[in-house]
């Protein structure tokens, strides 16, 4: 609360400049996508590729309209979003708790760190047959796979960040009567917060990665299914649309997490 109040007091005159700087950054970020779009349109128009290899942007827009009309677009997006959200929540929570335990307590680190490091070395797709065998082909295995994907980056960054909190600050906290949970929430977690949020964003990105892996293999809905289905039916326009949707959704989720981190940074 104090930080943002201070910003408001001292930065009132600068806020206008800051807003235009942010707009400038936003515009700079749009340059490459717009160039890519123009190149795409030019390539499709010049007939370098056949329409089944590279449909024009307009064809992809038409595919959007078609899927919306059939009521399928929202369904695919919603189910994929739900899987990522649930899987990420589960994987990130377990990653936070186990990362904190391993980072803060040497005995726990000695006990768990080597095994978790070994599990991390297993490629994601190696889990799929086992998950299908144990959990069937419904929602269960997909969410668990996303959770596995989200877990490792969160666990790794949190455990490393909490193990390296400035011992001087920890001692000062102890000298002022903090210990256990108080020390964790007032000194250790705030100190590690930037790294923790970087880990959460990496975990979220890896969650989307693992989602597509899960949906490619056994599903009847979702963006991964849309990818494999459009490949099988030769609908390159829908294939491109799925890729664009994954990029858009991943970026949006990441931006939301970034906003949340900035909000929390202001609140401490």
């Amino acid at each position: 609360m104090t930080g943002r109040a201070a910003l408001g007091a001292s930065g009132a005159s600068r806020s206008g400049g800051r807003r235009s700087a942010r707009l400038g950054r936003l515009a700079a970020g749009l340059v490459v996508p717009l160039i890519a779009l123009a190149a795409w349109q030019a390539a499709a128009g010049a007939g370098v590729f056949t329409p089944s290899q590279l449909p024009a942007p307009s064809a992809v827009l038409a595919a959007v309209a078609e899927l919306v009309r059939r009521g399928e677009l929202w369904q695919h997006v919603a189910i994929s979003g739900q899987r990522v959200l649930l899987g990420f929540a589960a994987g990130a929570s377990v990653g936070l708790v186990s990362g904190a335990a391993v980072g803060l307590y040497a005995p726990v680190r000695a006990l768990l760190a080597p095994s978790i490091a070994a599990l991390r070395a297993v490629p994601s797709l190696a889990w799929v047959p086992l998950l299908v065998l144990w959990l069937g082909i419904a929602e269960g295995p997909k969410i668990v796979l996303v959770a596995i994907g989200a877990f490792f980056p969160v666990y790794t960054t949190v455990s490393a960040a909490l193990a390296h909190v400035d011992p001087h600050l920890v001692e000062a906290g102890r000298a002022y009567g903090l210990r256990g949970l108080g020390l964790l929430t007032r000194i250790q977690l705030p100190y590690a917060a930037p790294a923790v949020f970087a880990g959460l964003r990496l975990g979220l990105a890896q969650g989307w990665l693992f989602l597509v892996a899960a949906e490619l293999i056994a599903s009847s809905m979702g963006l991964g299914f849309l990818l494999i289905d459009s490949q099988n039916t030769g609908r390159t326009d829908i294939l491109l649309l799925s890729i664009l949707l994954l990029a858009l959704l991943g970026k949006t989720a990441d931006a939301l997490l970034g906003l949340l981190s900035r909000f929390l940074a202001g609140a401490t």
Partner: protein, 262 residues
Amino acid sequence: MAATAAGVGLRGIGHTFGNGHTVLRDIELDILPGELVAILGPSGCGKSTLLKLVAGLETPTAGEVLVDGRAVRGIDDRCAVVFQEPRLLPWRDLAGNVALGLPKGVGRGSGRQIVGHWLDVVGLEGFHRHRPRQVSGGMAQRAALARALVREPGVLLLDEPFAALDALTRLRMQDLLAEVQRGAGTTVLLVTHDVDEALHLADRVVLLDTQPPVAGATVATVLDVPWLRPRDRAYPELAVLRADLLERLGVPRPTPAEETTP
């Protein structure tokens, strides 16, 4: 100040680190409530360790620390520590950092008032909302002093608090400490390697030193500095004590041949 000054008793204190290195042995010392005692000694002689033992940050391997007649077990909330570095939390403003020192059970409103009061006392009015990295080292150390003072400690423990500051800031901070101590009346245990600082501030100077071949430092000398504060740094009597202390610390007087003054 609500809390009353507490006396400190060191009874046969000895400390050996986990690696077998003995830093302190057989330390006997009584500090009266409201007294300002400076602990002086060569670097590495265990001055800071002694302070951590009083604060309860570490437990002595021999003997007992008494604060106000009661043994120290674990972190003691009758003590407040100022370290050599400010050790402020970079994500909190100065007021937020000082609030960390508030004793448990202080309400939000009165806490803010106490924090504001002590920040003003240490000369940081107008800087309550600044982050630690926006202020100078001297100001950060003032905030660290305020963080200790809001605790209204029975004993204020200062671990070379001005050592990292530039010479002029150090002198100002010494005067500030003398003033605050006079106002609050709290007991102060000041660890320093600066003979002038000890003589300017302390009622008594305790010299720690080792006596080889016995391992571990112990009390070598206790020196009374019987003049009232605030003291003039140019007191001739202080100069005599200063030369004496420096000699005990291994910095002898120049021999007459080297003296150029008539």
